[in-house]
């Protein structure tokens, strides 16, 4: 495991470098001038040139890239072109909101999907199974831009139970977490149900039953553990994408997360901020994948990462 960890850390650098290089050249290739956005309609051509020069945007692209890499190696993500404050600070300010929402959506999805998948697998073909599959189908079919406003109209406008949008307390978290979590719960229900059905008639399950173990023990200790691997894979991918920022949900619910910051940075052609956001997103994915690898090992001790 130790060697595996070292190898993953060693791979971290080329991954981040690759992601940042790709984004650096892509964002510079997109039409649009950050100086125009920063200075607005009223500024003169000389002022624009002066600003371009002072920001280093007049230099050749390869020089800009070299400077960006030098800053990155020194741990400096630079200054946001538009807001003139540290990119790291701007991202740090948004990360708690993103993490809070992603974690709650994941917890909600898990708490809904696991019991449903168990019920569906245990009562295969019965109404409970059909109900779980229907829930899964609905969850997958409802896009966030439709589900979010629907939940708002029901719970905030009609019933008046919850706030509409914003981030001012636990109550504000409920609707965006449901909007994000339902889709994820739908996927997890399907995968876990299929996985449980696959292991249900395995020899070791029959052996556990023959030993006289309770059904709870058989399902939780023997079946679930072996059915978990595909679920961990899907969960890690889904959680990674949540940490990368759920742009639509964040916009609908006025949630100040990393997704909205990334979109704003792209719209204003704020190159350092876009690069910072993408690096953060890449790091999130790497971290989540790493945690998933640890969970694989916990779920199935036969898995080994050392050569």
């Amino acid at each position: 495991m130790k060697r595996y960890l070292l190898r993953r850390i060693a791979l971290l650098l080329p991954t981040l470098l690759g992601a940042s290089t790709l984004v650096f050249f892509l964002i510079h290739a997109v039409p649009g001038d950050p100086v125009e956005v920063m200075l607005g309609e009223t500024a003169g051509a000389a002022d624009k040139e002066e600003l371009r020069r002072s920001l280093g945007l007049d230099r050749p692209l390869h020089t800009q890239y070299r400077n960006f890499l030098a800053g990155l190696l020194a741990g400096d993500l630079g200054l946001s072109l538009y807001e003139r404050s540290s990119v790291a600070e701007l991202i740090r300010a948004r990360l708690p909101a993103t993490f809070e929402l992603a974690l709650c959506a994941l917890l909600l999805a898990t708490s809904l999907s696991f019991p449903l998948a168990f019920l569906a697998a245990a009562r295969r073909g019965a109404w409970q199974d059909r109900g779980a599959l229907l829930f899964s189908l609905l969850g997958l079919s409802m896009p966030n831009f439709w589900l979010g406003p629907l939940l708002m109209i029901l719970f905030s406008i009609q019933l008046g139970w919850l706030p509409v949008s914003g981030r001012a307390g636990p109550a504000h978290l409920i609707l965006p977490a449901i909007t994000l979590g339902l889709g994820m719960a739908a996927i997890l229900t399907r995968i876990l149900r299929a996985s449980l059905l696959r292991v249900r008639h395995e020899d070791y399950v029959q052996a556990a039953r023959a030993k006289g173990l309770s059904e709870t023990s058989v399902w939780l200790k023997h079946m679930l553990r072996n059915a978990l691997l595909p679920v961990i894979t899907v969960m890690s991918l889904q959680f990674g994408s949540l940490l990368a920022g759920a742009v639509i949900t964040e916009t609908i619910f006025s949630w100040p997360g990393i997704g909205r910051l990334t979109v704003q940075a792209i719209q204003t052609r704020d190159y350092p901020l876009v690069q910072g956001c993408v690096l953060t997103i890449a790091l999130s994915y790497i971290f989540v994948n790493f945690v998933a690898d640890i969970f694989y090992r916990l779920a199935d001790p036969r898995i080994t990462y050392d050569d």
Partner: protein
């Protein structure tokens, strides 16, 4: 199937109870007595020397005072100035009010005025407003409450620059949104800003023009237009100005007790034309397009009457507005005749083949796309095939700046001084030197625009710009569409707000919650 696993069950039930939201009441996201206004995006820099986005200008306008300020009638009036005048054609002298203090308690003096203007002119500060102050030669402090502005040459539109917010002389220079903005002297004091969430201002109890009636203001950032309206309906937003989808207004009127006010604004929507295009350089073609577009129908059905058909850049509330100009009512038959006269006959009469094809660039905002679809249908009726190209804002704007378009639609916001015609139509204003994106060149118009800048007498300027408006309406380097109306939506408990044509929110200082049964409790 399972035996009870008590620990698991307790955790699971707690978790579901939390998320069920059965009795989770909304947390109050504003202090008692505060008015909550919904805005679309984060104000990026409230310092008036650097503010360029609409929300920074409007929120900043509540924190800072300026020497002059446009009033509810759209005309400039005195704010920090007690008296002002011109000693000659290039010198302005202002006598400042003596009862004005910054939020930190220090009196506002002529030194602060000089510092504000000089810090904008300092190239190290990279203020976007530096170019606007180009005619300014010197700012001199005559006495603690008297200041003189000397220009390098007579420049009548410079008077608009006296609407810049004044900051204290000790203010750190350079734009940065990470520091709090400098102290102002306005009716509200900057309290806090949560990026992406809200900006909070508290009332200035010792404001020289009377303390605001509300305890403060919360500008809640709600990016989605529909959600802003739902927040309003829910009661968590008290006030919205503009940024409202026209489709939402009938719903708001029907389902809430909201007070909805629509008034003539100064925002001018137009179709920009590339005059170097071989077809569009024909005046008859431009006139035909203008006749083919049915503004009234679009205003009625797509804008829900939130617009007035426009004759030019200056709206009727502008002092230099000239109404007696050529107009282009919807007349498809006249449009066809003009196209025939220009040599673009319809190749197959009523058949499917068009006279010619053009592209129309717009943003991918839903309303803009629908308006573009309406243009396409209306131009098709006269034999012009329009290809609609919708882009994300940055790409769209970049193309417009580069002249990479046939036709596009945009708006000019906050048009005040008629000198804006110089920026848009003078032949020296072709990008990057100005905003003549259609590459229009007319020596007669150039001469008039140069005279308009030099003249300081209002009547003389009115006559010059009257002529300018007639030429532009006849030549059609732009096709005027409509002046966008300002729309204000308020909770019925709010009293005292007066909408300004330029969208200024300064009258929020006079707003209060009524104590009638329908009034909002102060929490």
């Amino acid at each position: 199937m399972f035996k009870t696993n008590s620990r698991f069950a307790v955790v699971y039930i707690w978790f579901l109870a939390f998320f069920s939201g059965c009795r989770v009441f909304p947390a109050t996201d504003h202090p008692p007595g505060y008015l909550v206004a919904g805005i679309e995006s984060q104000p990026l820099n409230l310092d008036p020397r650097f503010a360029t986005d609409a929300n920074s200008v409007r929120v900043g306008g509540l924190i800072y005072n300026s020497l002059l300020r446009a009033g509810a009638n759209g005309q400039l009036g005195m704010e920090l100035a007690e008296h002002w005048g011109m000693t000659d054609e290039w010198t302005y002298v202002f006598e400042l009010r003596r009862d004005v203090k910054f939020h930190d308690g220090r009196p506002l003096t002529a030194r602060d005025v000089r510092h504000t203007y000089e810090s904008i002119l300092d190239p190290r500060n990279r203020s976007p407003k530096r170019a606007l102050l180009k005619p300014l030669e010197a700012v001199e402090v005559l006495t603690p409450h008297r200041v003189r502005f000397r220009l390098s040459a007579p420049h009548a539109p410079f008077v608009e620059q006296f609407t810049l917010g004044i900051v204290p002389a000790n203010t750190t220079n350079g734009p940065s949104s990470s520091r709090p903005p400098p102290a102002g002297s306005g009716p509200f004091i900057f309290a806090s800003s949560d990026p992406g969430e809200k900006v909070v201002l508290k009332a200035n109890p010792s404001y020289w023009d009377g303390a605001p009636k509300v305890a403060g203001l919360v500008f809640k950032i709600v990016p989605d237009a529909m959600v802003r309206v739902l927040e309003f309906k829910h009661g968590s937003i008290d006030f919205l100005q503009n940024d409202i989808e026209p489709d939402m207004l009938p719903w708001l009127r029907n389902t809430t007790a909201a007070s909805v006010d629509t008034r003539q604004g100064t925002t001018f929507q137009y179709i920009g034309i590339n005059l170097s295009h071989p077809i569009l350089r024909h005046r008859n073609v431009r006139q035909a397009i203008a006749h083919a577009i049915d503004r009234a129908q679009i205003i009625r059905h797509l804008l829900k009457d939130l617009g007035t058909p426009a004759s030019g850049l200056l709206s009727p509330i502008n002092w230099a507005y000239e109404g007696a100009v050529d107009s282009w009512p919807h007349d498809p038959e006249r449009a066809k005749r003009l196209l025939d006269e220009a040599g673009f006959a319809d190749p197959d009469g009523d058949g499917p083949r068009p006279r010619f094809e053009l592209s129309f660039k717009t943003t991918n905002i839903d309303l803009r796309r629908r308006i573009a679809e309406a243009f396409k249908e209306q131009l098709k009726a006269v034999g012009i095939e329009l290809e609609i190209r919708g882009y994300e804002w940055g790409t769209f704007y970049s193309d417009v700046k580069k002249g990479n378009f046939h036709l596009f639609s945009l708006a000019w916001v906050g048009v005040m001084d008629p000198d804006v015609y110089f920026q848009i139509f003078h032949s020296r204003s072709i990008p990057p030197h100005g905003d003549n994106r259609g590459r229009y060149a007319n020596p007669a118009l150039d001469r008039l625009l140069e005279r308009g800048r030099r003249a300081v007498d209002t009547d003389e300027r009115r006559a010059i710009y009257g002529e300018v408006q007639k030429i532009v309406a006849r030549e059609l380097p732009y096709i005027p569409l409509w002046w966008v109306k300002n729309v204000t939506v308020q909770q019925p408990a709010l009293r005292g707000f007066v909408p300004y044509p330029d969208g200024d929110l300064i009258s929020l200082k006079n707003v209060s919650f009524s104590s009638s049964p329908g009034g909002r409790p102060p929490s």
